[in-house]
Symmetry: C2
Subunit: 368 residues, 2 copies
């Protein structure tokens, strides 16, 4: 069993799980921290341990460009390269190819594109993506897919799902890294029948876990939940489910209630760099002048290194001066805060009060 379900919530579809990976077990529901270029921005592996991070997400597209596969191969994989011996999940690179790179040509084979950095030409298809993820040595690899934009008409979505399914089958066939788990990705935009079709076909191919892709791409919140609801019932109960690119507390709680187990997002690190703290009550702009003399911690009652040692006044000062330590301290806090949130969520499921906890979160937490 790669995924043990330890407990199911009586009132919702939430479940407490444990996912086995070559680099250790992951307690779910889990939020995964994004380490785009081989570091969760400004944090060291020891910081990740201290903040309760369980899984680091590496971006295949970014790592293919810099440092490139030869450098990662020379190090013996990303774990050794970045000094992190916990689980790593890699995306397939598809999302960035479609959103960041200058596309040259999309064929049945894959995508020919120019790097967004220096125009260098690359080719990425299912086989190339799986090969790169094998070199990275991630514990969980994602299939190469096409992430649909929002809005997207039905014709386009239907053709794209066909492409995604053919690429998924080739990704599975190309997967051959020792012990590496491979997840499929359900696409289909806002069309329930396409979501169902995509989910069912992926299950026929058979994957270790299933992601719900193409959500949190600009659609209204209700359509996101609709896409999750259209996908989850057609996925096996004994496999982890992963909503990609989501990191808003309230939304994660809603997705967990719908049977989702895994999330990732750049939110905690990105907003830290802009001077914003994640707290139980929502986001707080620590850079604001109102904190100039404030001797309280970034978040009252928080046990992170930042909150145990420094005042809002100090962190605000560092941010106002552009001192690197300011964004680092806030990154430590934000990563801790989101991991704590997931831990609280797991306790709520284990304790049988997840539904009440989620309703409270909905009322109390205002941040997006």
């Amino acid at each position: 069993m790669i995924f043990d379900i330890l407990c199911e919530d009586p009132k919702t579809s939430a479940r407490l799980g444990r996912l086995a990976t070559p680099h250790g077990a992951v307690d779910t529901p889990v939020f995964m921290d994004v380490g785009t270029l081989g570091s969760v921005k400004s944090l060291e592996p020891r910081d990740l341990v201290e903040t309760g991070a369980q899984v680091v997400l590496g971006n295949t597209y970014h790592l293919m460009l810099r440092p490139g596969k030869d450098v990662i191969a020379a190090a013996g994989g990303l774990h050794r390269f970045m000094g992190w011996d916990g689980p790593i999940l890699t995306d397939s690179g598809g999302f960035q190819v479609f959103s960041l790179a200058k596309m040259r040509k999309i064929t049945e084979d894959g995508c020919r594109f120019n790097s967004h950095l220096d125009g260098h030409e690359f080719f990425l298809g299912p086989e190339e993506s799986m090969e790169m993820q094998r070199i990275i040595g991630s514990d969980i690899a994602m299939v190469f897919d096409e992430c649909l934009p929002y809005p997207c008409d039905r014709d386009r979505a239907e053709k794209s799902v066909g492409q995604t399914l053919r690429w998924a089958a080739r990704s599975k066939a190309a997967a051959h890294a020792d012990g590496q788990l491979v997840f499929g990705i359900v696409q289909g935009g806002v069309y329930d029948d396409l979501r169902r079709h995509c989910a069912e076909e992926l299950v026929k191919i058979g994957f270790d876990g299933y992601a719900i892709g193409g959500v949190s791409v600009g659609e209204p919140e209700e359509l996101m939940y609709k896409a999750v609801d259209a996908s989850v019932p057609h996925l096996p109960a004994d496999r982890p489910r992963y909503v990609m690119g989501l990191g808003v507390m309230r939304q994660m709680a809603e997705c967990v209630a719908r049977g989702v187990d895994m999330f990732d997002c750049v939110i905690p690190t990105r907003i830290a760099r802009h001077g914003t703290a994640i707290t139980r009550k929502g986001n707080v702009a620590i850079k604001a002048a109102k904190w100039i003399y404030d001797q309280g911690p970034v978040e009252e009652g928080c046990e992170c290194y930042c909150c145990r040692n420094f005042s809002r006044s100090y962190v605000r000062h560092l941010l106002a001066c552009g001192e690197i330590l300011g964004l680092r301290l806030l990154t430590i806090h934000n990563v801790f805060a989101l991991n704590r949130f997931m831990k609280d969520m797991r306790s709520a499921i284990a304790g049988g009060y997840f539904f009440e906890w989620k309703e409270q979160i909905k009322k109390e937490t205002t941040n997006d």
Copy 2:
């Protein structure tokens, strides 16, 4: 006794000392890490402890501008503001007023100037500087002085020394912080008789320690040693001596051989931000392409967190991508390397082989 001399080198004027401060004892010779705006750039207090840092230097000018004295007063001083409970030394702000600010008017009272940040007008004289240093709560305060540029003609230097001495006397009179040590500063440029005169007059006023200022301001290296040689013999043997703004290993060793005990410099943090590592053998550009596949540590045999955990290949990659973690890891290494250098120097003095050690350093260490 605020300064104990534990051991004197038989062949040079080097000595091993211990300086008592309100926040603990400092082993000398010591290199002090510069925390301009209330952080040693990118490092936390726990990093400072881990890298063997003994003293943090705060810049009165910078802290007066940002966050300003009211904010530091609200925190109860810089120690509590930045979470560092080891010794802090503050400069007087004079050097930055003369080198960074837009000067409006210099009078016997002090300097009226515009902030280099936003043009806001400030006034800083001996009384204002000592008041700011009292609010900061530094363990060691420096007198307000005029730092002469190089070159500087004799007339100008002589007048300036007069000004520096009158300001020194007023600084001493204005000093009244509990337990805070106050250091005088010997000026006089390249003129031996002015150095001697300044030293003798400062000793008459009486200070807890003495700095040699106006060196490492662009003069040839030999003139720097000449200025030290012209000052040290006229300073009391039982007080610490401090060369301001110096952080080159070979030059610090030479100054210690001449009886100097304390140094500070932005070098380790600044060159880290530019991708350069300090090693026993000199400076190494870690950003260079030659390290792209290199699995060795930044410095062979180094025990710092960076060298124990990461390869040159990884650190180079982070630096090449502008990832904050790269400059932070190199800062950790550089601060560790300079503190280790001072520790080795203290061992050499204690072991009676300082002269031979220094000659070896001169041969082996090429960095400036």
